[in-house]
Amino acid sequence: MRVTVRLFARLRELGGASELVRNVPDGATVSSVWQSLVQDFPAFADYRPSLSCAVNAEYAKFTAPVSDGDEVAFMPPVSGG
């Protein structure tokens, strides 16, 4: 199945794109999507401890399952305000 990955701020710059379409196996979770990204972008690895994620524009846990067509967002620490 295919998911759209959204990247922000420095993660977007490290990934070279704000949006990536990824093929993931059935049963994939947010965590497994992230792991597949880290394989392509080793610099991402440092972000895991401080990362937040969302599925379809709702905050989610890394253990959340993803479905075909989902938008999965990975977010470095926020700095609004």
Partner: protein, 157 residues
């Protein structure tokens, strides 16, 4: 832009926000504007660029308004956050909190800015003399009870 919460590229207007939340039972309105400073941690800042995950950022602002309304039931609140390129002195965030009595308006307004910095998916790209850097603040977790308690403690201190 008359929504109580918004993420926008337009100039922010605190008076507009105050007008959205004022009611005849309110005796106080407190507004907060976050401005772009010309310096940060010893660096001479030239400008900032704010980036948002907009749909989730609006939901996070809505959540903060809801949280404030649960804690201070008489409070009316509006929050707009700006994105894009901002010059020194421009406002990046505007909050208005109205309530019957001033203590609640001050507390709710302060609470909102603390929570914004905790849970709203917006990022600040700082450009300064000699370089640029992404500011990374808090790992966003709206359900983290310690972060929420910290915001409450600062607001109600």
């Amino acid at each position: 832009m008359n929504a109580r919460t918004a993420v926008t590229e337009s100039v922010l207007d605190a008076a507009l926000l105050a007008g959205l939340v004022e009611g005849p039972g309110h005796g106080a309105v407190v507004t907060f504007l976050g401005l772009v400073r010309d310096h940060n941690q010893g660096r001479r800042v030239t400008h900032l660029v704010y980036e948002a995950y907009e749909p989730l950022a609006v939901k996070a602002l809505d959540r903060i308004v809801r949280e404030a309304g649960e804690r201070w039931p008489s409070v009316g609140m509006a929050i707009h956050h700006r994105t894009g390129r901002l010059a020194i002195g421009q406002a990046s965030v505007a909050i208005a909190a109205a309530s019957a009595h001033r203590a609640d308006a001050f507390a709710a307004c302060r609470y909102a800015i603390e929570r914004i910095k905790q849970i709203v998916p917006i990022w600040k790209h700082e450009f300064f003399e000699g370089g640029d850097t992404w500011i990374e603040g808090a790992t966003a977790d709206p359900d983290d009870p310690e972060a929420l308690e910290r915001a409450v403690r600062i607001a109600c201190a």
